[in-house]
Amino acid sequence: MSRPDTNAPLLEVADFSVTLHTPTISVRPVDHVSYSVNAGEVLAIVGESGSGKTILNMAPLDLLPVGVDSDLEGAVRFQGRDLLKMTTGQLEAVRGGEIGVVFQDPLSALNPVRKVGRQLIEGIERHLRLTPAHAEARAADLLSLVGLPDPQSRMQQYPHELSGGMRQRVGVAMSIAGEPKLLIADEPTTALDVTVQAQIVALLKDLQKRMSMAIVIITHDFGVVSGLADRVAVMYAGRLSELGGVHEVLLDPAHPYTRGLLASVPSLSAPLGTPFEGLPGQPPNLARRIDGCAFAPRCPVVRPSCSRDRPPLLSVPRSALGHLAACPVTVNQTA
């Protein structure tokens, strides 16, 4: 980044790769991925399970599970500073304070033997440096903000005494306690009932406007994407296959994988008896080298050159600026 200006992206992921080693296997779940997120913007990262979307976001913050050795290549810059080059101390200051995280399963994300209030207040104390009394008041405010009635009682309770939706609200509260500029939400609605899902999405939208936060939301649910996101990134086999504004990607997808994904979502308005459409085949094994395009074996418009050279992200000319897809075949098609 040469010039410091307010239009510089908040988060810049540059040619980022992650290799994981466990005693039994080595894999590469993130393979040369690049994108950026601006301040106040909502980016949705979609993909199937195992596409690498979670690791993509957790690895730069060193939040991978225990027992896994990771190699990180490339750069992930937050406000100009490369997270990959930070010391543990520096990362600890960023985590919670500048970047907040909401996890998928609120029951396991919360410590079962400590009171909810305690877990919330400690985050506030750490990053906002308030007196205990102020911190407690702030915690109560936060709980009201996320829509929990009677915050004082809630704070005295243990996680298992709350419902799933309430727990996730607490999780959201914990993630914004430090007033972060970027919130990473890892499938925050997947573990919840459908009605509660809608509430959480609305909550995130509300918070985002209020606090001018940027959000990176990881999900496989297109309903959530259309309700919340400004831009969408589609991951497949650890690679970015499409990137663009939410309208463009959802209404006029360029990459065959995205098209297949969208087509496979059942529609309420389709006539009864319409057969389900799925994608044939399986995602590739990330422990092995992949030559050419990762989607080639399953692609309906595959050409011989696809299996040779890995396609770069190309601009889609017919679409808005910033709509990119990694498919030389479909990119130049018209509508």
């Binding site: 913050l61 225990v66 919670g96 995280v101 410590n111 419902s163």
Partner: protein
């Protein structure tokens, strides 16, 4: 919670009944003629009348159930019979021999606690470091070390070669050191491993990642988040330790020639001293059942997951 407490108390009571039945049946299962054995041990001429007399005296011809209740009645009144070997009152002998065993159990538990906690936490704070690896090797070795071997070695090094500490008899605090170490070292290694593994598992849980995501350092997470999660396990293990240590007393007391309850039990087993065996077994069983009950209740009170008083 009161309901659960009552529940556990009732279970404990049932266990005590089972213990009494077991102790009784075991002795009643003695192959051979008890009356003849007793008559023999009493010395003097053994004839059929003497044997019959003894049988009458000990109600050996009554139906089993009747004998059981008679015995139970005696026990509740503190009448534990007389040793077949020495003739002395079992109840009196037990009371006398309680002190050495108590010293051993308390002292051994202290050794276990100190060793287990310090090593366990050291291993968790610096994982895979030199300390941790040493602890693991030490733990494996210590856990495998037979207590009597450890005791023998301690005696050899400190008693025979260095002549530092007394090894014979229950005399003064200096003589307490070696037996307590012999008793507490192995459970100490076990406890340290339990604590370290428990902390390790707790640190692998998702809420630790949450804590990391909030920006906390590892050491703080260890003490604030992981530690409270292992408290119930630790308490349960420590409770079980008491049973383990008491069991070691059976072996350690004879080695150091301490006149404790453990040594008493062993001698009784050697000499087929049935009344002593019966009383000791019953006493120990009741003791362990009660200790387990106490530990259960304490663990329940310490673990928020078990407290169901609050409403959501």
């Amino acid at each position: 919670m009161l309901r659960i407490t009552l529940n556990r108390a009732v279970s404990a009571a049932i266990l005590i009944v089972i213990a009494s039945i077991f102790s009784f049946i075991l002795i009643a299962a003695f192959p051979g003629n008890v009356a003849a054995l007793i008559a023999e041990l009493r010395g003097g001429f053994v004839s059929q009348e003497v044997v019959d007399q003894v049988a009458e005296e000990y109600r050996l011809n009554d139906p089993l159930i009747l004998r059981y209740f008679h015995w139970l009645g005696d026990v509740v009144q503190g009448q534990l019979g007389h040793s077949l070997r020495t003739g002395e009152s079992v109840a009196e002998a037990l009371a006398e021999r309680l002190k050495p065993t108590a010293v051993l159990v308390v002292g051994g538990s202290l050794v276990t606690l100190i060793m287990g906690v310090s090593l366990g936490f050291a291993g968790a704070l610096w994982p895979n470091g030199l300390a941790d690896r040493l602890i693991r090797v030490f733990a494996v070795f210590n856990v495998s070390l037979p207590k009597f071997f450890l005791a023998a070695m301690l005696i050899y090094v400190f008693g025979v070669q260095l002549q530092l500490l007394p090894t014979f008899g229950f005399r003064g605090p200096a003589s307490w050191l070696l037996p307590c170490i012999a008793v507490g070292a192995v459970p100490g290694a076990l406890l340290s491993r339990l604590i370290r593994v428990g902390l390790e598992e707790a640190m692998a849980k998702p809420y630790v990642i949450t804590a990391k995501a909030k920006g906390f350092a590892r050491r703080r997470i260890l003490f604030r988040d992981a530690l409270p999660n292992i408290v119930p396990v630790f308490l349960t293990a420590f409770g079980m330790n008491i049973a383990f240590i008491t069991q070691s007393a059976l072996i350690i007391e004879p080695i150091f020639s301490w006149n404790g309850v453990g040594a008493y039990f062993v001698e009784a087993a050697r000499f087929r001293d049935l009344p002593v065996l019966q009383s000791c077994l019953l006493m120990f069983s009741v003791l362990f059942i009660l200790v387990n009950l106490a530990v259960d209740l304490i663990v329940m009170m310490a673990d928020p997951l078990q407290r169901r008083a609050k409403r959501g």
